[in-house]
Structure formats: structure tokens, C-alpha cells
């Protein structure tokens, strides 16, 4: 069963809300609730927050329930602020967590591996609790399954939150379907501008587990090219002034140095193929950083979804 337009539309709105009140966390819950209430009927809105928001070490998550109360959404944000693609490259290229992959345990075996950094992010999701009820993510969904006999769940996020959505979807499905053998579990991962997180074996596991999944990629966004296609990042925007070398000689050097080894270690999910669109290319030469930032912004992804509808 393919992903519906309403699911895509809801997911991009839900993913955007992880960036609510990033610095003023006291207002975050109120703001997310208010904006969930504004999600339109065509996206099965208004939505209601039923768990969270929780945050550990910059990993933000919340769970929402749609208007007709049939579908839950687990929404993940992967960085403390709507990370600029610029910082993304800097932080990650200089972070050894990308160069190290660790064994995947949900299920274990078959040489499935994911990046150590994303694996750590998943550990924080396992740790999160709701402020009021003190319930963890797994226990929250267990109560839903116990009450309803079923779980229909979208798992979504943008950027690093999108990558984390893939891991969380795989982890949750393993708990409910493989271990608990629940018959009526329907989990759909939807990602926007998500980088690649694991090796070929992970990509194949994910494709097998989720024959219905959805990834939206702006072909002018560098983030989804990490880490399997740094070669393309090098040539994404034209000269003058927008090439990676003009942006930063040291970054260009790092990309050239690591692109082959990272391309061997990281393989994207390709079944079903990601949905592609071409974002924003300035008519006049612009700064690399600006072009990059605009193309990764969730607003650009949302605009595509809105137009497609």
C-alpha cells in the first residue's frame, strides 16, 4: 500500500515542529501543541500531542495522534537547532563517529552496521521519558497496543531526525512484530532530507522490513548525499563562488580524502526509490552556504509537498 498524500503532508508538518522554540525550551511544549492544532484536515489534522516532547543531548522527540485517532506519529529531531548544512559538514567531517560503524541489534547478525553517532542517538531515544507520565517511548506504544490491539504509526523527521527515524522505525518494528509477535502493527517511515546511516546490509534490512517507506530528497540538498555520495557534494553548485572549494579549502580537501572510503561504507535505501525534486538554484551566483542552507530547509521540502498536492 503506497504512502498517501495526507500522510506525506502530515509528516512534513510534524517534522517541522521539532524545531519549535529551540532555544526557549520552556515554551516548546505549548508551541508544539498550538501548531499541531493548526495542521489542516487534508493532513488528518488537527493533531494532538500524546507523549513528550522529550529531549536528551539535543535529540528531540514527541508522539502525536491524528484527528480520527487511527494513526500515531513518532516525530524525531536530530539536532538542537535547525542545523545549517554548513555546520553539518563541519561537525560531521571532524567527528570520528561517522568513520566508525557499530553492529545493529534489532535484529542482530548478518553484518548489519550503522554509524556510531546515529546509534548513540538511538540510545538517547531509548532513554527518553514523558515529563508528566514518566513513560518511555516503548512503554507508551505498548500501552497503545494493549488498549487497541493494533498500532498504526508514522515515524518521521527531517535531516538527522530523518536518519534517526529510520533507526527508530526498525527498532520499534523489531520489538512489536519480531519479539512480541503482535499481528496488527503498521509502521511507516517517512523522511525528509535524511542522510544515509548504515551499510549495504542495513539498507537491505530496512527495505525488506519496510517495503512501504517514503524518502523525499531535494537533489540540490547536500545532506542526503552524506555519506554515500560526497563526490556529488563536491560538484553540486556551479562556479563562480558556489563550489565547495570556494566555500572552504579544508572542507573540499576532507571530502576528497574521505569520499571513497565513506562511499564504500554507507549505502542508501533505494527501494522504493526516494522521491526527488529540484529545489532552489539562484539565478545569480550566490554563496555556497546560502544555497545549501535554503535547499536543506524543511520549508523547501514542505513547499514541494504542498505543490504536489
Amino acid at each position: 500500500m503506497p504512502i498517501t498524500p495526507a500522510q506525506k503532508c502530515a509528516s512534513v508538518d510534524l517534522a517541522a515542529l521539532t524545531y519549535s522554540a529551540e532555544t526557549n525550551t520552556a515554551n516548546r511544549e505549548v508551541e508544539i501543541r498550538a501548531r499541531l492544532a493548526e495542521i489542516p484536515a487534508k493532513a488528518n489534522g488537527p493533531w494532538t500531542m500524546v507523549w513528550g516532547p522529550g529531549e536528551v543531548e539535543g535529540i528531540v522527540a514527541y508522539i502525536a495522534l491524528c484527528k480520527d485517532r487511527t494513526t500515531y506519529a513518532m516525530v524525531l529531531g536530530g539536532s538542537a537547532h535547525q542545523i545549517k548544512a554548513h555546520e553539518f559538514i563541519y561537525d560531521w567531517l571532524l567527528n570520528r563517529e561517522m568513520f566508525r560503524q557499530v553492529p545493529w541489534r534489532f535484529p542482530s547478525g548478518n553484518a548489519v552496521k550503522v554509524s556510531a553517532g546515529m546509534h548513540e542517538a538511538l540510545a538517547y531515544v531509548c532513554m527518553l521519558t514523558d515529563r508528566t507520565t514518566q513513560t518511555g517511548v516503548l512503554d507508551y506504544f505498548r500501552a497503545v497496543v494493549a488498549g487497541n490491539g493494533s498500532l498504526h504509526l508514522l515515524v518521521t523527521g527531517h535531516g538527522l531526525g530523518g536518519a534517526l527515524s529510520q533507526l527508530v522505525a526498525q527498532w520499534l518494528r523489531y520489538q512489536f512484530v519480531d519479539l512480541d509477535e503482535q499481528p496488527d502493527i503498521n509502521i511507516l517511515p517517512l523522511t525528509f532530507g535524511a542522510p544515509t546511516i548504515g551499510n549495504q546490509q542495513f539498507a537491505m534490512l530496512f527495505e525488506r522490513t519496510f517495503p512501504t517507506n517514503y524518502a523525499l530528497v531535494n537533489t540540490l540538498d547536500i545532506v542526503p548525499m552524506a555519506w554515500w555520495n560526497l563526490d556529488r557534494i563536491q560538484r553540486m553548485y556551479p562556479r563562480p563562488s558556489q563550489s565547495i572549494a570556494e566555500f572552504g579549502v579544508s572542507i573540499a580537501g576532507l571530502l576528497a580524502l574521505y569520499k571513497d572510503s565513506l562511499a564504500a561504507a554507507y549505502k542508501p535505501v533505494i527501494a522504493p526509490p526516494p522521491e526527488m525534486f529540484s529545489g532552489w538554484m539562484p539565478s545569480q551566483p550566490n554563496k555556497f552556504e546560502h544555497t545549501m542552507f535554503e535547499n536543506h530547509a524543511i520549508a523547501t521540502y514542505k513547499e514541494h509537498i504542498t505543490l504536489a498536492m
Partner: protein, 312 residues
């Protein structure tokens, strides 16, 4: 109810056994099982491996069951490679994780904070799975409670494993008692050479939750002085040859720079008072590093427990 001699004696063996086959992971489960079978009857042995060993990112834990079939032990390993105190001081003094504390989640609120590094270690502990059943630790322990209606659990570890044992005890208590509302759950934290993990509010929370807990510290071990008493660490061994400054001018400078701010941020658990003993001080001046490594080993802690309890 105080911690019994048999519990202390069992805990020091359970903690030591976490270091089994650090490198050769293929034989680890089998060798841990064999070592557990040798724990003496006076320490409620032989014990058997019941869950794990699970390992993620260097964090290793297992659950074992005692001969009485009613008592369980959860043991955490310290840093990979039974780290020398030397590496510990270097790694941690230069690691930003010590200087940043994050809000504690179990339960949330009340300004309780723990070090970023130990919080990460706990996140990995929560994520751990049994290599055969692939079940998370919490789900395994809940299964024990479902089966018998009760749980008696020693939670133990040496060094960083001891610090993690404190956090994991508080986490399990919050999940099993405060959230799940189980009544017959008895968790006893027993630590050896554990550094301090959190602020005053964490220490108070831990003391309130676990009026029965046990911590053993060698007064000549530098690790338990982190991070609340770096001042004491500076003067632990005499000159010549054994002072921190002679060990490394850089380390001494770091200690001097950070000792006051860290002493404000980290406060030890003091109720019941920590049990102490005096380890090994060489008759002739020795190298700081040697004195320090010898005094931190689990073997020196076990030697004290065996002598004190009279359980061989």
C-alpha cells in the same frame, strides 16, 4: 537492613567477572558462565548467567542468578581494558563530558544532574540486549517480576562500572517501582572504587532511594576522588617520585585548574558512609602510575572484601 557480608562478597566477584575476555568476545559468555560457577557457597554461589552479556560501545553488563534462585545480580564492566588510573585521569581530564552535566530523567525534575559521559553510558545500558533473546535489560527484569511477583537484585560494578551501577539502580527503581508500581522490588547498589557521577541533588536522591547501599573505597585509589575531590588526589602519594606533578606537569596543571569548579559540581553519596580501607603504599618511592594502578585494581578490592567477610 544493612548489606550482608555474603552480598558484598558476591558483588566483588560479579564485578570482577565483567572483565572476562575483554578482547576475545567469542568465548566471553562461556567463560563468564564458568567463572560464575566458581563463586563460593558463602557468597550464595554458584551463580549462573541469566541475561547477557550485552555490549554496546564498550558498555558491558550481564545478569546472574544466585544458588538460592531468588537473588539476581546485575554487573557492569568498567572501561574496556581494565583501564589504568593513568589513562582514566588523562582521558577524563581532557574530555568535555566531565564538565557538562545533563538533567536526570529517572525521575525528571528537581535539578538533579549527572555527568554527560555517565548519562551516555546509561543510555547504552538501557539499549543493551541479550545476545540470544535480543530482549532489553528492563524487559528481562520485568519478566522476572511477572514470573515470581518479586525481585531481589544486587547492582554492582567496579570503577566506571560502579558509577554506572549507581545510575542504573536509580533508573531501575524509577521504572519498576515508581512507574510500574511493583511493590516487592528490592534493589541493592554495591560499588567498588566508583567515581562520583552527579551533583548534590543526585547524591540526595540516591541516598533517599537507597538507604541500603554500599560503596567500598581504597583511600589510596585516585578514581573515587573524581570529580568531587581532585584536591585530595593531588596530595595522595608522597614525594619523591609519586606526586601528580612528577607524574605529569600537564595533568597536575589540569587538576589545579579544574578542582574547585568540579568540586562544586560533583558531590559524593555519603549515606550510609562509604566503607574505606587503606591499600598498598610502597616502602620505597615508586612511580605514581604504578602506585595508582595497583590501588585501583579490582583484585585489591576483592582482597579487602575477602579478609573482612572471612568468605574465601
Amino acid at each position: 537492613m544493612a548489606v550482608t557480608p555474603a552480598q558484598k562478597r558476591a558483588a566483588v566477584d560479579l564485578a570482577a567477572i565483567t572483565y572476562t575476555d575483554e578482547v576475545n568476545t567469542a568465548t566471553r559468555a562461556r567463560d563468564i558462565q564458568a567463572a560464575l560457577a566458581k563463586i563460593p557457597a558463602g557468597a550464595n554461589g554458584p551463580w549462573t548467567l541469566a541475561w547477557g552479556p550485552g555490549e554496546v560501545a564498550g558498555i558491558l553488563a550481564y545478569v546472574a542468578r544466585a544458588a538460592d534462585k531468588k537473588t539476581y545480580g546485575l554487573a557492569f564492566r568498567g572501561t574496556l581494558g581494565e583501564i589504568s588510573a593513568h589513562d582514566f585521569v588523562y582521558n577524563w581530564a581532557l574530555n568535555g563530558d566531565t564538565f557538562k552535566q545533563v538533567p536526570w530523567l529517572y525521575p525528571q525534575g528537581a535539578d538533579v544532574k549527572v555527568s554527560t559521559g555517565m548519562n551516555r553510558a546509561l543510555a547504552y545500558a538501557i539499549m543493551l540486549t541479550d545476545p540470544t533473546t535480543n530482549r532489553h535489560l528492563l524487559d528481562y527484569v520485568r519478566g522476572l517480576i511477572r514470573a515470581s511477583g518479586t525481585l531481589r537484585l544486587l547492582v554492582t560494578g567496579h570503577s566506571l562500572g560502579g558509577a554506572l551501577a549507581q545510575l542504573a539502580s536509580q533508573w531501575l527503581y524509577n521504572r519498576l517501582v515508581e512507574v510500574d508500581k511493583n511493590e516487592e522490588v528490592y534493589i541493592t547498589p554495591i560499588t567498588f572504587a566508583a567515581p562520583t557521577t552527579g551533583n548534590q541533588q543526585f547524591a540526595t536522591l540516591f541516598e533517599t532511594t537507597f538507604p541500603t547501599n554500599y560503596a567500598l573505597v581504597n583511600t589510596l585509589d585516585v578514581i573515587p576522588r573524581a570529580w568531587a575531590d581532585l584536591d585530595g588526589l593531588q596530595h595522595l602519594y608522597p614525594s619523591p617520585g609519586q606526586t601528580v606533578a612528577e607524574f605529569g606537569a600537564g595533568v597536575a596543571a589540569l587538576l589545579a585548574t579544574f578542582k574547585d569548579s568540579l568540586a562544586l559540581a560533583y558531590k559524593p553519596v555519603t549515606r550510609p558512609p562509604t566503607d574505606t580501607f587503606t591499600g598498598w603504599m610502597p616502602q620505597h618511592p615508586d612511580k605514581f602510575e604504578h602506585t595508582l594502578s595497583e590501588n585501583h585494581t579490582i583484585a585489591i578490592y576483592k582482597g579487602h572484601v575477602v579478609a573482612e567477610t572471612g568468605i574465601a
